[in-house]
Symmetry: D2
Subunit: 344 residues, 4 copies
């Protein structure tokens, strides 16, 4: 924390701030400048928040310096974390291309799409059994039947599965069936769910909230890790801005920012990140070029009949091209496609 | 929905779009213009989403027209809804001023603050027993003990209580103790929690998410109502923008926008909406002036010792002034302070 | 500036940062903390920017503390500035209600509207002769003929006039005819125009840019003042966000933020700030309630025939009601309507 | 335009809207639906704006469908435009890598940097002689002396030059010295400057404004083209959002969106787009991967002494690596580096 005093702050005002800092059990470091005094604060914050000092007379502003995350930080663990999802490594030198339908609709649909994913070289299958939908009248997913379908398709194609949990009830089931729990953007600050996922030992794919800062995303990962689950994968999926040519604005610059701050692997979801089928391929290439550890792609063999998010799903044949282009871009940046599991 | 064709779209492309609309069980209404053709779509959408048409050849864009909400809509219910919170009406001609600490910290703290609220003319008490905090290392609330404190203070001062539920577990307890369930901004799209709150018969105060549109807020209210709980109060609490002079940007224009679209009452929370103590009073006045049904204010008798959000809490004596000014502004716009419950 | 070092920064890295700060002619103040060291910087920045330190090894981030503005600051001038616009005071205890058409279209139109403004108690007339329009094919204003019309109407109704200059050519003419030069949101960082306006001695109404921070707005005012023109009025007119229920999001919290930081008067424009006729009256009341020095309102007697921005213009009779309500709200906050000039 | 009526709109209200549309010289197409009626509008809008209809009784909302741009549109010109900047093609199959200092500071500085650009394979030199700076107290550029330096360095290294014009005065000089006029983000809606640039026959590099939509960017290009100058290059340079890990949020998805809508070439500026040296290289790779026609990079041989934007400038040796990586990525997407001009 840094307390910046008004240019005209009187000595007794500065004194009062210093005294209050010390009363909080912290240490005050006054820095007299040409125009004004600033006061650095060090020590571990206990309960009360030094930001209240901004209401003291003579104080211009209080600037927060330290961050609350620890376990997610590269300072705490300099080496990259690699998370194994059902035997496929996420993070490290390899890259993964994950595909699948937005929602599991039927065994047939999921099998057809999974087959396309596997043939194309995709290593993991995504698909929602529990769908958080903006409207209560939209299709909400097949629930446990969807999980059963995913598990069956995994056996057939040796594709580990990632699927979303939306509450503690669905989490319990997801853990029984899936190789990786997805926590969606709308639940990034559903702290009860984060803690519950932290108490499992299943890897967690945590999506950035629609208006989450880097620090908030890292603190949400910290929630999971502070419960003992260190297998966390972050995912950029677009943020909300004024721009209207895409559904969200995919913020690729967060990838190098995460890599600088944290040791966790990071994926990019250009399907939700743009909401437009024709932007999925170019933004996937860009995501790999910027240095992420893989992409998460919505694939549907009949997008015009999809029960959710059809406008952003690509065809299996386009997914195959996407895998090829990600591989080629990856090689330029010193990465190679992670091998898929061998058919058992 | 409206499908806008490219200027150079060929007749067979227009034809293909029309055919697909009809295949979806909807009706197509081509509107030939000077430069391009548009095609209106009517009929009830079933499962598939007409927005996939934007991937058809010759289509420039697809514009969504209809909204998914029904029960929240003023079209469905022209008259203003009045929600009774423990005997105090929210909505209608009266206005309410709700105060209390961010977090319940102790019986003493809560009693002292509640006394200030009651003396000042506040009608309802707010206070968190379950706190959704950005960091796992911050104070997370007293839990059920906090609810017990609130209930005890309610008896003493005849102040019905509003307190937040953060998951299904806490919801069950909140319903036993409180007069109104608060669903916080971070949970506005926690659909499992919304449905669970909808299955209770306790009024729900639903806060706007940090980047929620008007439509999304209304659809979240629709989630609660579609489960049978019609006692929903909306609350603006600031949205996230680039502006950095306040913690959030309080969007007061949503108040008349909600009033035009929905029959539900709407409150404003200038404490979280600005995050700055010195802006709470002016923004409260503005909120009443714009036509909301009341304000939600964080009050603490020792803000510099508060366990959370001290920088934005005001003192009980400032709350008293705030009540007086809201009353005076209210009278200009034809509203009067709702009477507080008589001490029993 | 504050340089925050990595937790694991080595002593020689800290040393290198300190040396570079001193090489820049500045003073370094190391603050060793429990986990990491921070280094405060004081002294007047010359040419090079200490922010480059964030590229030094062992540096976590560089935090900017000081602000670049001086003349606009309340630290420099504690008392409120009052700007006289053709004899009408803006700032101080009075409030002003300014009305007029978006664009001057004809003498008849301007006379009719001006008459309505005057009768209603409005003190100043606004109207554009030069219109910055998003499309080159939209009506661009009448140019100097528009200024002549404004001047003629001013004589008839004793209404000083505010009108926009969009470049140095139009500025020269505006200065000859108008009582106040408006610089629009799109030109808030047109520094050449700001400097040119600063070289005149005509008051300047400076609108906040669509994505301008408080600091940027103040620095743009500083551009005008640093050229010797101290008669600057600031104006909030809405910022751009994801919210789509209004054209822009009117950020009323900037009013108390400006009042705390600067001595300059500040107006609010709810017409552009919302873009919706039905929100102009409630947001005007809110603007006065929050403590601004007046509002700027688009008025048209036949909005459905207006050559620009008809959807947000209100009728003269609605303007009369708006003046009455602003007056009533103003009295609650200790302000009174500024008297209009007596008819000569 | 599409007018959406309330569900309960009465027949005479629908009739009144239809009549007003026809009175405006436009054609109304009522589309009766199950719940509500919509009314399509066709015909060329004249002066009045049909959006005023949203204030008519029974109208729910008015949705804008058509766009105002013509000349920039791919509908008007299906083939990609290639703009020759001093003999170097921008657009088409090649890609360009443009480098140079933020500001021209001296002949020595500019020569040293230009030499690095040329050796690395950069085809064009950028550098500002007129700098739009947020603060009036920051270095504002060398003015015409800076242009002379640029011209001299061009002769020496055969590097055509791009430099910014900030007003009509500087534009006149820029046109005499430079191969391409840059219009900066802050001037994207300085329509007077756009028109003046449109009256020259020098290519224009138009940067996206900090909160400009795709449509606004295209309409600003339309301003230039409507004056007869068709040599326009667009440039994404980051937009303003809540995200704070970079100075701006680089919106790469606008590249495929522009390519779909317009025939104009588009560049990306990752230096301003991120404001962070360590993100320039990864975001440059991503920009090429997404399909842009080149990148614009700030280069300085002594960034810690740069008079502006030092924190985001990269070293000449890093620029050389950047060129190599852009070339490699370009080949994956079927593009090759544009050849630089041969030394004369």
């Amino acid at each position: 924390m840094l307390v910046v005093m008004d240019a005209g702050a009187r000595p007794e005002q500065i004194e009062a701030v210093v005294r209050h800092i010390e009363k909080m059990g912290l240490k005050a470091h006054p820095i007299p400048g040409a125009n004004r005094t600033a006061i650095g604060i060090t020590g571990a914050q206990r309960t009360a928040d030094p930001e209240v000092l901004e209401n003291f007379p003579g104080v211009k502003e209080v600037i927060r310096v330290s961050h609350g995350y620890k376990l997610v930080s590269r300072e705490a663990k300099p080496d990259d974390t690699i998370v194994s999802v059902g035997g496929v490594d996420v993070g490290g030198r390899g890259i993964v291309v994950i595909g699948g339908p937005c929602a599991v609709e039927s065994l047939d649909q999921t099998r057809t799409i999974a087959q396309g994913i596997k043939r194309a070289g995709g290593q993991l299958l995504r698909g929602g059994a529990y769908k958080p939908r903006t409207s209560p009248y939209s299709f909400q997913g097949l629930g446990e039947r969807g999980l059963e379908i995913l598990a069956r398709v995994r056996e057939e194609f040796d594709l580990p599965i990632i699927t979303e949990a939306i509450d503690e009830g669905s989490l319990k089931l997801v853990v029984q069936y899936a190789d990786c729990i997805q926590i969606g953007a709308r639940n990034m600050q559903n702290f009860a769910l984060l803690k519950a996922a932290g108490r499992t030992r299943t890897p967690v794919l945590l999506k950035r909230g629609m208006s989450a800062t880097l620090e908030e995303l890292l603190l949400s990962a910290e929630y999971v890790m502070s419960e003992g689950n260190y297998a966390v994968i972050l995912c950029e999926r677009g943020v909300r801005t004024f721009a209207d040519h895409t559904r969200n604005t995919l913020d690729l610059s967060i990838v190098p920012a995460i890599k600088r701050t944290s040791h966790l692997p990071v994926l990019v979801d250009p399907s939700h990140g743009t909401g437009k089928r024709n932007k999925v391929l170019p933004m996937s290439r860009a995501a790999i070029a910027v240095g992420c550890d893989g992409v998460l792609i919505e694939v549907h063999h009949k997008p015009e009949e999809a029960l959710s998010d059809g406008p952003q799903a690509i065809l299996p044949e386009d997914f195959a091209q996407l895998v090829r282009e990600c591989d080629a871009i990856g090689q330029v940046v010193g990465r190679t496609l992670q091998p898929a599991l061998a058919a058992s």
